[in-house]
């Protein structure tokens, strides 16, 4: 054995006993924490699910499975009626994302610490806008806009736009804050104006990231657009609503499949665009 330090005789040596004891204590403590959390969860389940559910109406497991089984089937006659709402849903998603991007331009500008025009005021306003946009569910936005501009495609577009601003502006602002200040200095030294600095020095650096974020949010907006119709904002959601109301469960499944189809298209397109960026 290597002869080590003499002061081992004075300092307490680590032994297996100490280690085992420590581990036991730590496991015991962890166990207690999990027990308390577990009790909390059980209580919540009791209060929310067990007491609240109408168990009699639900019936046995077999009956539940049968209820679920009602959905498995396709209403082929519905397909031709789905074409227009599907296109509408897709368009609402695209226009909503576009409008959102337009709103993001000032939002990201104000929300980036390094280029915001008047930091004490514009920066917090922009950040607040982003948080509000992200915190409110798109259904709530849709309800709001339907009440204000009426039914149809327009409230859907507004709802998606306002909902998307939060994420896109936040990511873009962070991208702007992370840029390399070198090119900015360079363009400034050749005498470029602020706009030229934006175009030549800032934009090229953040472009791939921003496009990535926009495509990501666009894909999600396709999902959202499909259900906004449930509250009157146009597209497949309306068809879904009608099928549910007439208890045409196969129709419901058909609409869901149509939504899937749209999402697949979205994924393929976004994959292509991402690849061409790299």
């Amino acid at each position: 054995m290597s002869d080590m330090h003499d002061d081992d005789a004075i300092a307490p040596r680590i032994t297996s006993d100490i280690i085992l004891e420590r581990r036991r204590k730590s496991r015991y403590f962890q166990g207690c924490v999990y027990l308390v959390l577990g009790a909390l969860v059980v209580w919540s389940i009791q209060v929310t699910i067990i007491e609240d559910t109408d168990w009699e109406r639900m019936g046995s497991v077999a009956q539940v499975l049968e209820s679920a089984n009602r959905f498995f089937g396709i209403d082929y006659a519905l397909f031709k009626d789905l074409l227009v709402p599907t296109i509408e849903t897709f368009m609402i998603a695209c226009l909503g994302t576009l409008l959102g991007v337009i709103i993001c331009i000032p939002a990201a500008w104000f929300g980036a610490k390094n280029i915001t025009p008047f930091k004490p005021i514009t920066y917090p306003i922009a950040r607040m806008m982003m948080t509000i946009s992200r915190s409110i569910h798109e259904i709530v936005w849709a309800l709001f806009f339907v009440a204000v501009v009426g039914l149809g495609a327009l409230p859907g577009i507004f709802a998606l736009a306002v909902r998307s601003v939060g994420f896109i502006a936040k990511m873009s602002a962070e991208a702007i804050e992370d840029i390399d200040p070198g090119p900015v200095e360079a363009i400034r030294s050749v005498g470029g104006s602020n706009f030229q600095i934006l175009l030549y020095a800032i934009l090229p650096q953040i472009w791939p990231q921003v496009i990535g974020v926009i495509i990501f949010e666009w894909e999600i907006n396709i999902r959202r657009s499909a259900i906004l119709g449930l509250v009157g904002a146009g597209g497949l959601g309306l068809v879904f609503f009608r099928q549910m109301n007439t208890f045409n469960y196969h129709g419901v499944m058909t609409v869901i499949i149509a939504v899937f189809g749209l999402i697949v298209i979205g994924e393929v397109v976004s994959h292509r665009i991402r690849r061409s960026l790299i």
Partner: protein, 250 residues
């Protein structure tokens, strides 16, 4: 008795890719400290990884401790790997865990799933671990996180971990390439000392030829997947080295 017999080993990383190892054959005896040398890309790392089947060989045979490694079903790989300790170039410690936990992870091949979940290693493992840590000189670092250690210290933990397995053989994959020359020598010395004490043969992949000639008793020279030299260290000379490296090296 030979602990490891390699015959006509071929390997490539993918079925359609180029062959990395071409017809390698050699034997490691019970008391060898065997070196594999050669330029980068010669296949040294691949060879080491074939032995415990981190890389699947495409042709040939590997007999370890009387067991045919290449034909072993996946289930028994675990028992095989338990008996082979590996020390890595990049240390490969679990950065966020303590030194003690890292050393104990060497016993995972002998630990049940349930014990692993709760990190409840038996007392004799903890005793053994403390003993090894003391031997490599890191007893005060027992509770430190692995990422708080220097390179040389991390490799010592790696040595302790490998030896926790009570292995029948040690594989070393460029154990000192990431360390500076003085520490490299210390680490190689420590490994050789402990391997000799515990009577564990070593198969070592080394970049630094001087270290190889100093610590190892037998050498294989690889070039581009071929075996260009196989014999005791005494037979190695400048000409043969130049042949392997195809350039001036010493």
């Amino acid at each position: 008795m030979a602990i490891l017999e390699i015959s006509n080993l071929h390997a490539s990383y993918s079925v359609t890719g180029p062959e990395i190892l071409k017809d390698i054959s050699f034997t490691v005896e019970d008391d060898d400290f065997f070196a594999i040398i050669g330029p980068s890309g010669a296949g040294k790392s691949t060879l080491i990884r074939c032995i415990n089947r981190l890389v699947e060989p495409s042709k040939g045979e590997i007999i370890f401790d009387g067991r045919n490694v290449t034909k072993l079903p996946k289930r028994e790989l675990r028992t095989l790997r338990r008996d082979i300790g590996v020390i890595f170039q990049e240390f490969n410690l679990i950065e966020r865990m303590s030194v003690m936990d890292n050393v104990l992870s060497g016993r995972l091949g002998y630990t049940s799933n349930l014990r692993t979940l709760f990190r409840a290693f038996p007392r004799k493992d903890i005793d053994h671990g403390l003993q090894l840590l003391d031997r490599v000189g890191l007893i005060e670092f027992v509770d430190k996180r692995a990422d708080e250690l220097s390179g040389g210290q991390r490799q010592r933990v790696g040595i302790a971990r490998a030896l926790m397995q009570n292995p029948k053989m040690l594989l070393l994959d460029e154990p000192t390439s990431a360390l500076d020359p003085k520490i490299s020598r210390e680490i190689m010395g420590l490994i050789k000392q402990m391997a000799t004490e515990l009577k564990v043969p070593c198969l070592c992949n080394i970049h630094d030829v001087q270290l190889a000639m100093e610590f190892c008793n037998k050498i294989i020279g690889l070039q581009d997947g071929y075996m260009k030299f196989y014999g005791p260290t005494e037979e190695m000379n400048k000409e043969k080295l130049d042949d392997i490296y195809a350039m001036e090296v010493l």
